[in-house]
Symmetry: C2
Subunit: 610 residues, 2 copies
């Protein structure tokens, strides 16, 4: 992973082969992307402080994993300090490193993980498990003022499929395996996990479990919460073992407590997960719908019908336009074909080309099954005025699906902030959530007096609702700190989620980024349950402290709590700070020109931060 950006060294997003992109960005963000205008500081310039690693702990860690797997190298510490949120990228690029971990250890077995945790707890150190490092919710960052030694436990050496139970269609897999490595090992024996998040290339099984990940084909395979049956977790109380049974009524689900626990209960070392035989046929078909409303209605009817596609995805008009703008240079024949399609849509089908929505629906299984599912879907698509544009665009989407995260670095190099926010809500609330979130973003752009763009797609369908995935970008005004303006936009969108009956995140977890809204989502007693769970499992608050929920208010007043106080002082968003910074901003606050009024109006609360 790059220390200041997404993905592999040497891999970059480029507009060079996408002729429509430069004018598109110029039109919407007022920026010419022809040349990079901003570069990260060099690694040599980074102010890396010396690690705080008492020799006793250093010795115990070396004894646990071997001295060659204990690193205090600056590059290791910088890479393990954070994930890849927009906030992380911006700060890394300018050399604002925050609280680095003091040491990175790489255990090679479960007993070594146990020895690491024992050593760390013995020295009252903080332990932060590290998978692929692609988290975008602040789940990996040590608390800013953490006075204790911080140990980053990199699970990357635990990368093997331990066994496959073909009869039960489950595999026991070590937690540190990356997406591509896992699929390669499974595919080699004719199996697949079927879990493909955007971060696939740079995330791990343990990370997916710790953050409740979803993948592009989760409509078929299930979210990671559905796929995960058995678990092995090193905890302060010993080895937590969840049996890989298909279902159980043994009280509140311990399995579901580990899912989404973000390292606060222990270190996941292995999981038993569903595997499926590689499908004999797999295809992603493109469709176009006349409007966003028609798209949502079609996806809802698909979920209610008897078809069960592997992917249901549809972009709003803004994202559809963006998709067209990122098309690669095409042949004359392709351009003519595309032009003919647009003419047909506009003249014969009455499509408003600015309002139409691009959709991808995936199918997997036997030839016969795929064919019958496609027929079922076609009928529903047609009922909502949509039509198929074949499997060509789908294949293209399928190929480039993991490239999207690289675009944030491309934009940062050009002074533009781009990021995402995603949620899930019941079908009947999706229209309101969408209207409110896009309106909130546009109002925020107007308040900040910046050029901005917001777009959205529906990414996962369920019986009762779906995930809406928003992407936004804007050109900071230069009148304020860039991240301050980012907070205004991101917070405005997040606030509409919880105000509109949606959840604060469908699959990006809580970390520190979303923690300010947790109580509004799951209610104060819900937060109290999580606190009780974490405090019971980790009375010393050594395990990734401050994530999901901060320290309880009363702990701050107590003697024991004083030590943890610093643990809640993150650079993350605060709704109060955000509200103040907007009202204090000198920027004019005109009514947003094009934004529809939110329905109902998102209520901006200035409640104290939890």
């Amino acid at each position: 992973m790059k220390w200041s950006g997404w993905g592999h060294e040497g891999t970059f997003f480029t507009d060079a082969d996408k002729p429509a992109l430069r004018p598109f960005i110029m039109r919407h963000l007022g920026v010419d992307v022809a040349r990079a205008t901003s570069t990260p500081v060099t690694f040599a310039e980074l102010p890396v402080p010396p690690p705080f690693l008492p020799s006793g702990l250093a010795g115990a860690l070396a004894a646990a994993v071997g001295v060659e797997h204990v690193s205090t190298e600056p590059m290791d510490r910088v890479v393990h300090a954070r994930g890849k949120s927009l906030r992380d990228l911006v700060r890394q690029r300018r050399g604002d490193l925050g609280r680095l971990p003091d040491v990175v250890v790489r255990p090679g077995s479960e007993p070594q993980v146990e020895a690491v945790l024992r050593a760390a707890l013995g020295a009252d150190a903080v332990v932060i498990p590290f998978g692929g490092g692609s988290n975008i919710s602040g789940s990996l960052e040590p608390p800013a003022g953490e006075a204790r030694t911080v140990v980053s436990v990199d699970l990357g050496r635990l990368d093997r499929v331990l066994s496959i139970d073909a009869g039960s269609r489950v595999a026991q897999v070590q937690a540190g395996v990356s997406g591509p490595d896992l699929e390669a090992q499974l595919n080699g024996q004719g199996w697949t996990l079927g879990h493909f998040p955007d971060s696939f290339a740079h995330s791990t099984l343990g990370g997916w479990i710790a953050t409740r990940s979803s993948g592009m084909q989760s409509d078929k395979y299930g979210d990671i919460a559905d796929l995960t049956r058995g678990l092995r977790v090193v905890t302060p109380a010993g080895m937590l073992v969840v049996r890989p049974v298909p279902s159980t009524s043994t009280g509140p689900s311990v399995r579901e407590m580990v899912l989404g626990s973000e390292g606060r209960l222990g270190i996941i070392t292995a999981a038993t997960v569903h595997v499926h035989r590689l499908p004999s046929r797999r295809v992603i078909v493109g469709y176009l719908f006349p409007t966003w409303a028609a798209s949502l209605a079609a996806m809802r009817d698909l979920a209610a019908g008897e078809a069960s596609p592997s992917v249901t995805r549809v972009s709003d008009p803004e994202e559809t336009q963006f998709s067209f703008a990122t098309k690669k240079r095409s042949s004359v024949a392709e351009r003519l074909k595309s032009k003919a399609l647009m003419t047909f849509l506009a003249r014969r089908r009455g499509f408003d080309l600015e309002a139409m929505c691009l959709s991808f629906i995936g199918y997997e299984g036997s030839e016969r099954r795929v064919a019958s599912e496609r027929r079922r879907v076609k009928r529903i698509v047609a009922r909502h005025g949509g039509l198929s544009i074949g499997s060509g665009p789908g294949a293209l989407y399928d190929q480039k699906k993991f490239d999207t995260p690289y675009i944030r670095d491309f934009l940062l190099d050009r002074g533009v902030l781009g990021d995402v926010a995603e949620t899930a809500a019941p079908w009947s609330a999706l229209g309101t959530v969408y209207a409110n979130a896009t309106a909130a973003a546009r109002i925020a752009f107007a308040q900040l007096d910046v050029r901005g763009y917001v777009m959205c797609h529906l990414s996962h369908s369920y019986h009762s609702g779906a995930c809406l995935y928003f992407t936004f970008a804007f050109t900071p005004s230069g009148r304020r700190e860039a991240l301050e303006e980012y907070d205004v936009v991101k917070s405005a969108i997040q606030q509409t989620f919880v105000d509109s009956g949606a959840t604060l995140s469908h699959h990006h977890a809580v970390g520190t980024e979303h923690a300010p809204w947790l109580e509004e989502d799951i209610s104060a007693p819900g937060v109290a349950l999580l606190r009780g769970l974490f405090d019971g499992a980790d009375p010393g608050r050594n395990l990734n402290p401050g994530k999901i929920v901060g320290s309880p208010p009363d702990a701050l007043a107590s003697a024991d709590g004083a030590r943890d106080h610093a643990g809640v002082n993150f650079d993350g968003p605060s709704r109060r700070v955000v509200a103040e910074s907007v009202s204090a901003a000198a920027a004019p606050v005109p009514p947003p020109p094009a934004a529809p009024p939110p329905a109902p109006a998102p209520e901006r609360k200035a409640a104290p931060q939890a």
Copy 2:
């Protein structure tokens, strides 16, 4: 509900219309069921002690729900004292009432539930929520030595479907509604929940959620854990509200903490659950397989294939024989047809009629869907040597499915103890679990020197495994306390579950009955997580104390813990006591004549009770 038995007054199981049953029971249990030989004590004989209800609390409860909804009537207290486990029935019948609740309150609204909890906590009383009263795991019983006032909160007045969101296919429903009442309200608007546990007629939505229930059609609709999206729970910390979102990554799932919580976190007042349009076609088809091994393999292949039936159920040879023995008196034509089928199976298909297995597979949906699913299933059934016997037997099974629990009372009236034990395991472990559990039961019968019968069916299929549901019956020897002999048999079966990689219960919850095996199932750190969760939510241990996990050992030594000590002194099973009672028994311990050796041998541990 009857105070001493299952179901409605006036409804009973009878063998009068089942000519083959009397000889069947005589052959296997050595009992002539022609006449009842045992009757419960009369209600008037019951030693009902006066309630311990301080006037302050009585007043507060009356203020909360209205004086007419606060009852200290003996019948109310006796009915609310327990569920309907075999242990419960035996004790009730002989007038051994245990620790009765002191008062039964019936709130009519969520604010009234809040007021009840406030009043109870204010008086340091124990609160036990009560739904349909059909729990068979000891989840409803007050701790034997409980010194505080015990308040049973009957949710029966919270019985309404509050709203149906047709677009999202969810309904918000009050927790106290019974199965039939709920389906009637939903069916009236064209919807169904699709949740049909054996206890359907006498259980409630809140009870299903609190115990992680499964229904007969859960293969299609999902277990209650899948169906439940939103929750409203009155807790000591206030209203816990889980939003009805389709999926979320907000940390460890609070929704999944309420599921299976058995009243230990609070009182569930409402839930938002999946609903489905009533299917246009619904049919249950009967099949016969030549062997149990072939049956399991067929069910596994069904789960791995592209068909998705609503019910997958298959009985082992012993349960198949029992099913045939409970057939109603039939016409000469029917008997001839049945005889012809048996002749065909034996002569033309080579079936061993003693080894064959009866299966029911259900289908729901459009005519077209049902037809194509039946074709898919037929191919898989045929591959395993099975054949369809049409929808007649399936319709019969469908009609009498809720009558089964009545048979325990019929047997108790004839001096026979009958009960169930169920589990779930990966497909590859099911054969071993089955062999070990049936062997353990037969060894126990032999050790006790009693006539006994054990049978099993597979009741729910999942991607990675299935539920095995065992039923056993035996005629107590008369040389020991009947429940002591029952404990030997039930405990032997439960022990094989956890020893064979299965779970201690798939859908009957933990309560007090299964608590002794919890640590062996979910590991000591898993139990510790549950303790932390419960203690955090309920520091005074007022909420259904002692269920799922007892008090922690260290709490018993502490000042605060002393009060709770009595709370763990249940009449439930204890593996240690069981082991001692067997070894102390004077009964000869011959090798079991017909039982196959368990594979691997179930390990009988004498670990101290958790």
